[in-house]
Amino acid sequence: MKIVVCIKRVPDTEARIRISGGTAIDPAGIKFVISPYDEFALETALRLKEAHGSAEVLAVSVGESTTGEQLRSALAMGADGAVLLKGQTSFDGLATAHALAAEIREQNADLVLLGMKAVDDDQQQVGPMLAELLDRPCITVAASVTLEDSTVVCEREVEGGVEVVEAGLPAVVTITKGEFEPRYPSLKGIMAAKKKPLAEKDAQLAPSRIQVRELTLPPERPAGRIVGEGKDAVPELVRLLRDEAKVI
């Protein structure tokens, strides 16, 4: 059983975004991390491995050489190997999916896990695109993943409830937050990671077909007002919602 986890290097969720040159963010001073949902995907893979013993977990990322840091973290968390596909990603998720597909075909993975979305571009698309390119079934936004022989069974949040779905392996699954938190790398894990293989090759990345004309900071929300204190302020609030904001 081989499980590939696709991880992306993204700015920390607390990072203050500044724009540089009008079309990109200024990376100066920003801490970069593994995208949070990709950490959940990796945690899911590690738990499947623990439950099944024989699985091999491989972390794959398309990114610049700095992405090695995040792949090392993945190895420290417990991945068995890592592959860096060197190239500059863009908003064009299909281009990224093609680059990942080329590697995954070579790796012959039984199960590919991705985050449901990367928290930088928020496109929420690479997983299902990758599945189409590989011609494999795809389950998106799974909160839990279990394996039953050659079937993957997932619980996914749908509008108004939870759906239990299944697909035959090989398959692609995108992960949302489930019952557990991703583990922290232990000291032992960090030491072990130094000896684990981190392969590097050039990504088969086509030029982006999504062009950024402009990147801007969101308009500041105009300063709001404190209507008052305690329940005495309630009638005035309701009046404002009704007559000024016209939302009730």
């Binding site: 998720g93 299909l94 496109q123 795809c138 409830g161 969101p218 709001g224 204190e229 305690g230």
Partner: protein
């Protein structure tokens, strides 16, 4: 050139987003001198008549047993076949749970890029310029797509439905025979979930300031006072504590919502929470700490104890109905 609007239904009733997607398509069609085709995949008796009211010239209805329930393989293949049968400038989807699952599959099948979760669309010098939030709403990107058709999903509750005349000619089209590879074993309805927080035009969210899951009856009262289109939301702190299900979580690792009205009750307003709700039209904060960061984004705030303010608020709203 024409625009294809892929709209959603549930059990034969169009979803709220259908009017929004058709309205967005209409504005692009007008800017191009083209027509709006709306595609509905669903039961044969789906009531599609209202789509004409928002400007749909043709309504393609793909019905058959395989169309009754959302199946990603069948639906994606059906949309790809319809797109292939026309010559579209753009194809629009709703960026709700289903559309975000569907659109990328269609994009990969057609080998064209996709711009997801658009909050603005414009045609400038014949090119489609899409505005979309990135970095969880901490920045906005204006992008163009070097492909035809241009695939875009539009954020729910963002494009206000506008009425305009469309011929609304209904055309029956076929559902793809693509094999279904993902099987639904079971569906468990979430307790009390009447409406998904991501789709609801009114959201009542609670945080750690409520002090315990038993106090959610307060928020339920407020939700009920606001009517059937209101849904409950939650901060991550209370989801992590097991007070509320993850499906209700709003924020960077939860759902992104853009309702008309958002109540943040006992929520401090951490960056990751704001990421999920800052594009709401009107934000109301109820918090006992006047310095809570949530007040910086709220349009209206009440400083006070949720246990005192929320019941009074529910009562006052009920009185006015």
């Amino acid at each position: 050139m024409n625009i294809l609007a892929v709209v959603e239904q549930r059990d034969g009733t169009l979803r709220r987003s259908a009017a929004e997607v058709v309205t967005a398509a209409k504005s692009l069609a007008d800017a191009q001198g083209g027509k709006v085709h709306a595609l509905v995949i669903g039961p044969a008796n789906t009531d599609t008549a209202s789509l004409a009211k928002y400007g749909a010239d043709t309504i393609q209805l793909a019905s058959g047993e395989a169309a009754d329930h959302y199946d990603p393989d069948v639906f994606a293949a059906t949309v790809a076949e319809r797109v292939g049968a026309g010559d579209y400038f753009a194809v629009l989807f709703a960026a709700g749970a289903q559309g975000r699952d569907l659109a990328p599959r269609v994009a990969a099948k057609l080998d064209v890029p996709l711009a997801a979760d658009a909050t603005g669309l414009a045609v400038e010098d014949g090119e489609l310029v899409v505005t979309r939030p990135v970095y969880a709403g901490r920045a906005f990107a204006k992008v163009t797509l070097d492909a035809q058709p241009r695939l875009v999903s539009v954020r729910p509750n963002t494009f206000r439905p506008e009425e305009s005349e469309g011929a609304g000619t209904v055309e029956n089209v076929s559902v793809s025979t693509a094999p279904s590879r993902v099987k639904v074993r079971e569906t468990k309805a979430a307790e009390g979930a009447k409406m998904d927080v991501a789709d609801a035009p009114i959201v009542v969210s609670g945080g750690r300031g409520l002090k315990g899951p038993e106090h959610w009856t307060l928020l339920e009262q407020l939700r009920d006072a606001l009517g059937s289109t209101a849904a409950l939301g939650a901060s991550r702190a209370v989801v992590d504590a097991g007070w509320r299900p993850h499906a209700e979580q709003v924020g960077q690792t939860g759902k992104t919502v853009s309702p008309q009205l958002y109540f943040a009750v006992g929520i401090s307003g951490a960056m990751q929470h704001l990421a999920g709700m800052r594009s709401a039209r009107t934000i109301v904060a109820i918090n006992k700490d006047p310095d809570a960061p949530i007040f910086k984004v709220a349009d209206y705030g009440i400083v006070g104890d949720a246990h005192e303010v929320v019941p009074a608020l529910a009562e006052e709203i009920r009185k006015g109905r």
